[in-house]
């Protein structure tokens, strides 16, 4: 399951190799991603996962709103760890 391409280079998996090994491939972001289904249901589940402690989102130190450009530059340079947020 492919979920991103921060390196700017999508994963390239050879079709014949995948077939020979019986491996399926799917995408959740980008032009090949399948429709996500009911977004409201997914959002509710995702928030519940945070509330219940099923996951605890890793947060990059927040940027001030005025530093949005710096936040973008850091994301583009893979200089962040976890979710990036702006704080007004």
């Amino acid at each position: 399951v492919s979920f991103g391409s921060a390196s700017e280079e999508p994963s390239t998996l050879d079709e014949s190799t995948l077939q020979a090994r019986g491996i399926g491939q799917s995408w959740v972001v980008g032009p090949k991603a399948a429709p996500m289904g009911d977004l409201r249901v997914l959002e509710t589940r995702a928030l519940a996962a945070t509330t219940n402690g099923d996951w605890d989102p890793l947060l990059n130190p927040p940027y001030e709103l005025a530093e949005a450009a710096a936040a973008h530059t850091a994301v583009e340079n893979r200089g962040t760890v976890g979710k990036v947020v702006l704080i007004p």
């Binding site: 995948l18 997914l42 959002e43 995702a46 945070t50 890793l58 893979r78 979710k83």
Partner: protein, 237 residues
């Protein structure tokens, strides 16, 4: 209020911090005093005018997810929303990189008091996509799972959720977890080969590897020992 405004597609410097009028909630909308606004990798593509969909109209305020407190209501909105802490995905309308944002009331989710605005923002958009990945991977306790780019906004959610599912070989996991979480942004793994760094075209990746060479070596070793067993991979690149 203060907001980020963009008048042209291009580099990050095009994001300007400016004074703008407060947005007024239309019928069915609320205005939220923003406590945290999410930044996505794709935001940087939209900024450059090269995202998948049609580029947005300019000028614009970017930002497609916010958390904060409802401070004003448009007509027709249930008055009980006033003052509640909420999180919402703004969608293509954007406007999240701001002190205040308007959003349709039906898009709101209330946030429990113990959840920070930042954690709520991390959950709403990145989290929902992570759930789709997890549903597709359908991991069981018999699987060994690789999460690449595990330090990313989405990767860490996948990793933390999957770490809660018993996986084999269990003895290999504790050390591997730390390595992957700590340095996986510098690592790229294919389903069918040994681990390797992103190609020479990924200049950002090269610099990341340069910062943490020991991480890279450690992860590669760990992966080679697990490779025969792994069944599923959840991979960023």
């Amino acid at each position: 209020m203060k907001a980020i405004r963009q008048y042209e597609f291009g580099p990050a410097e095009n994001l300007r911090y400016e004074d703008v009028p407060d947005p007024e909630p239309a019928e069915g909308q609320v205005r939220v005093a923003v406590e945290a606004a999410g930044v996505h990798h794709i935001d940087t593509k939209i900024r450059q005018g090269i995202s998948y969909g049609p580029p947005p109209m300019l000028p614009m305020t970017p930002g497609r997810e916010i958390a904060g407190r409802v401070e004003a209501l448009g007509s027709g909105v249930d008055s009980s929303w006033l003052g509640r802490r909420v999180v919402a995905q703004l969608g293509l309308a954007s406007g999240g990189y701001a002190e205040k944002a308007v959003i349709t009331a039906t898009s709101l989710h209330e946030i429990p008091e113990q959840i920070s605005a930042s954690a709520a923002v991390a959950s709403i958009g990145t989290g929902r996509t992570a759930l789709v990945a997890l549903d597709l991977a359908a991991v069981t306790d018999q699987d060994v799972v690789l999460v690449t780019a595990a330090a990313s906004g989405m990767g860490n959610l996948l990793f933390r959720r999957l770490a809660g599912i018993s996986a084999r070989p269990r003895s290999a996991w504790p050390a591997a977890r730390r390595k992957w979480l700590g340095c996986a942004n510098s690592v790229r793994i294919s389903l069918w080969t040994t681990a390797r760094p992103a190609g020479p075209t990924g200049s950002g990746t090269r610099s990341a590897i340069g910062r943490s060479p020991s991480c890279w070596t450690g992860s590669a070793e760990t992966l080679s020992t697990l490779r025969r067993d792994y069944w599923a991979a959840v991979a960023g690149s």
